[in-house]
């Protein structure tokens, strides 16, 4: 049984409690934060467990390398304080069950590209940027065999992740890969943040998509034509698990000649796309999600963005059409990069 490696002493000696005081969805003063974090550590009920938007951001806010978000989710499960209604939890948990046979495992030489559960997005991995990578699986019937499971952090279901992740890791490892580029932040976060936090062994090296794209663009530098676009970036929740890779966003933007517009909800203050909040059982959640979306998009517009860049397919599902309705072009980061080297977006 995997156990969260959580160092309580770090919290007890923390005088900022950034994990809670910086939360954008709960207004918590430092004193309350200290009380509530202790309650959470001690396994007691806390309003934080009820009101958590499950945006992952506290993992980044914590300056001491502890795992406040994983702890919150663990406590939500233990105390059965689920942010989502029960049928949504059950639906989500059942969704990840593979039901169409076992995947065909082929040995991959060199670096692999893992689309995770989004094998239907293989069209976004075309062109020269990806020509050095081998796609691990494009068979959408087998996608749940590559599903990193981290989505269940939104569902208060650490146990599901821990039950299933080992098999997923074995499936990926069966391809005999040394290095895997993960198309989605969430997979990268699973294998580089969550797994170590729970002492789960990962026998392959993970590479963040943005780091890969940046390095690949450097190789193709002579083909880059500055795009001269103003862009906003919709930072997904799972990016909070790899804040060290977030600087690649600006490094890529600089390299391909786009301006990352200065705005309020950027970086640490990035807003959730609303996808998860919308379904939560807390009163007014749907309205809150809509307000967040409106605030976020208004902020992008006010800053003069022409393009909204995404990494997370779930954010695209939730926000893609809305940004388009507001006159911004929704684009995956990989597509933006393709445009910069003279290719067409997917």
């Amino acid at each position: 049984m995997f156990k969260l490696q959580f160092d309580e002493s770090k919290c007890f000696s923390c005088d900022t409690n950034d994990c809670l005081t910086q939360c954008q969805y709960m207004d918590i003063d430092p004193g309350t934060a200290e009380t509530e974090i202790r309650k959470i550590i001690n396994g007691e009920d806390s309003f934080v467990l009820h009101d958590c938007a499950t945006c992952y951001a506290c993992e980044e806010y914590c300056r001491r390398g502890n795992h406040p978000f994983y702890l919150i989710v663990q406590r939500q499960e233990e105390l059965n304080i689920l942010p989502l209604p029960d049928p949504l939890v059950k639906r989500g948990v059942q969704m990840g069950i593979p039901f169409r046979g076992e995947p065909e495992i082929s040995e991959i030489k060199g670096t692999a590209l893992n689309l995770g559960v989004f094998s239907n997005l293989s069209r976004f991995t075309q062109g020269r940027l990806f020509e050095n990578l081998t796609l691990m699986s494009t068979d959408s019937r087998k996608m749940f065999h590559y599903f990193c499971q981290l989505m269940y952090l939104h569902f208060g279901r650490i146990s599901v992740i821990n039950d299933r992740l080992g098999k997923i890791i074995r499936t990926i490892a069966a391809h005999k890969v040394d290095e895997v580029v993960h198309f989605h932040d969430e997979c990268y976060g699973t294998y580089t943040s969550y797994a170590p936090a729970f002492g789960i062994d990962v026998p392959f090296k993970s590479i963040h998509l943005f780091e890969y794209l940046y390095n690949r663009l450097l190789e193709l530098k002579s083909d880059i034509r500055p795009l001269n676009l103003k862009v906003a970036y919709q930072r997904p929740c799972s990016s909070r698990l790899s804040p060290d890779k977030y600087p690649y966003v600006d490094k890529i933007f600089d390299l391909i000649g786009v301006e990352h517009v200065p705005r309020e909800y950027v970086g640490k203050k990035a807003l959730c796309c609303g996808g998860t909040i919308l379904g939560q059982k807390r009163k007014g959640s749907r309205r809150l999600a809509l307000e967040l979306q409106e605030k976020n998009i208004d902020d992008m517009k006010k800053a003069g963005a022409e393009v909204c860049v995404f990494n997370c397919p779930a954010c695209v599902d939730t926000l893609g059409q809305k940004v388009a309705q507001n006159g911004l072009m929704p684009l995956f980061m990989s597509d933006l990069c393709r445009l910069a080297i003279g290719e067409k977006a997917s």
Binding site: D86, Q94, L278, K281, G284
Partner: protein, 452 residues
């Protein structure tokens, strides 16, 4: 010498009639579990006059006639149980008139639902008709002959409630009109003339629908589907009651199925919401989720599974292929909405017993006045054992419908017998008189709705 075939050729033209096994074969097979029943001839008329000629011929020769449209009933309703002429009406495919302001379309019975939808989409984008969940090749006439329902069933009822007039060829060959068109007026209303409508739901046993005026309804530009989910099936009737009280949605369907796994033992309600603007849609969403369904969300027993999804036509043939077997058949029933929980439980039990992943669905008809509840059973066409299981499951389900106080919809012969056995004797006697009056030689789809 057989005179029927040359007579059919004379009526419908060379090539549109056949007595060859290669043609008859297809008409002998239903898409569901029914055993094959061979016709002796097939003919594909183009006009009501040709239909009338064929019926006169059939009366002279005492040959059964079995009309069919898309042949999609799945319950063997267009199989020639006693041989005779399979009458394929799909060449009668003209869209004769669309009255934009009066919101109706006059079409020949063989027009497919797909064709009418595409035509309205292109020529009258503000109008729609109620398209059934069947594949788009299902025909307007066929659907009316079995009291079908479509995606406007919640606001407007059965498709047979949406008729403004009909042209029928009687079994004896007379062409009759019903509704305002009968007095030479337009095809805009079925009422207020005396009711002589004895043709709907008879599976063609009392006459052949050749033309129909179908009511059309506003097609709103912004269209989407919301999905609400609960685990407790007992909540479904009250949720549907709340939503039908609100009265602001189009199609309302509750469903559950063992495959794909996410829907297993959960009950989803798909809610089609439309509007002429995003503001109208958002107002409706707000009333649905923040007024009517909020109590379920906040108490954690119901959740918003998806919002603003594109409304997609159901692709029933995909259900048929879950087990890569190319077949499924369902029992449809018209049920009180309150029966949903029991229907689900009993259906899931039957499915489990027959090793078939369960698939159930209830579509609201009218303001919650009823629902069409269906139990689907997939089978592998190449594996007789699975076909047998499905057939048995279907029969057991027919019995459940009767047990639960429902009415089997478009029953196969087995179900028809159950219904007739339970029917009020005076009603039964009236049905018999009507049938005898209209079809004295019993040539029309014999074996269907047959009252001894």
């Amino acid at each position: 010498m057989d005179t029927i075939y040359p007579s059919l050729v004379h009526i419908v033209g060379e090539g549109y009639a056949s007595f060859r096994r290669e043609e008859l074969f297809t008409y002998s097979k239903d898409l569901g579990t029914s055993e094959p029943k061979w016709p002796d001839y097939v003919a594909a008329p183009k006009t009501a006059e040709q239909v009338a000629e064929i019926l006169k011929l059939a009366n002279r020769e005492k040959v059964p006639v079995v009309p069919l449209g898309g042949g999609m009933s799945l319950a063997g309703l267009a199989l020639p149980l006693k041989g005779g002429i399979a009458l394929d009406l799909k060449r009668m495919d003209r869209i004769i008139e669309v009255n934009e302001k009066g919101r109706y379309a006059v079409v020949e019975a063989g027009v497919s639902h797909g064709k009418l939808t595409a035509y309205l989409h292109n020529q009258h984008p503000h109008l729609m008709h109620s398209e059934p969940g069947a594949p788009p090749a299902a025909t307007i006439g066929g659907n009316l002959a079995i009291h079908g329902q479509g995606d406007l069933a919640h606001p407007y009822g059965f498709n047979t409630d949406m008729i403004n007039g009909m042209e029928i060829v009687l079994p004896t060959g007379e062409i009759c009109k019903f509704g305002s068109c009968a007095v030479g007026a337009g095809w805009f209303t079925l009422h207020p003339l005396p009711d002589v409508g004895l043709f709907l739901g008879w599976n063609g046993a009392t006459g052949i629908i050749t033309k129909v005026s179908l009511r059309l309804f506003p097609y709103k530009k912004f269209r989407e589907m919301e999905i609400f989910v609960v685990e407790d099936e007992n909540l479904i009737p009250e949720i549907l009651y709340e939503l039908t009280h609100l009265g602001l949605t189009e199609d309302l369907v509750a469903f559950s199925s063992a495959i794909p796994p996410f829907s297993d033992r959960l009950h989803h309600v798909s809610i089609n919401v439309t509007g002429d603007s995003e503001a109208e849609i958002e107002l409706k969403r707000r009333l649905i989720f923040e007024v009517k369904l909020a109590k379920y969300i906040e108490s954690g027993v119901g959740g918003i599974a998806a919002v603003s999804q594109a409304i997609q036509r159901p692709q029933v043939s995909k259900s048929a292929d879950w087990k890569k077997g190319g077949g499924f058949e369902y029992v449809g029933s018209i049920m009180p909405v309150s029966a949903y929980p029991e229907c689900y439980r009993r259906g899931a039990e039957i499915s489990t017993r027959h090793h078939i992943p369960y698939t159930i669905l209830g579509r609201v008809i009218g303001c919650g006045h009823a629902m069409m509840f269906s139990w689907s059973y997939a089978f592998n066409r190449a594996d007789e054992k699975t076909v047998r299981h499905a057939r048995e499951a279907l029969h057991e389900t027919d019995n459940i419908v009767m047990d639960l106080g429902g009415v089997i919809w478009k029953p196969a012969v087995f179900g028809q017998e159950l219904l007739l056995a339970k029917m009020d004797v005076n009603t039964l006697s009236l049905m018999k008189k009507i049938k005898l009056l209209l079809d004295p030689n019993n040539i029309m789809n014999p074996g269907n709705w047959e009252v001894d």
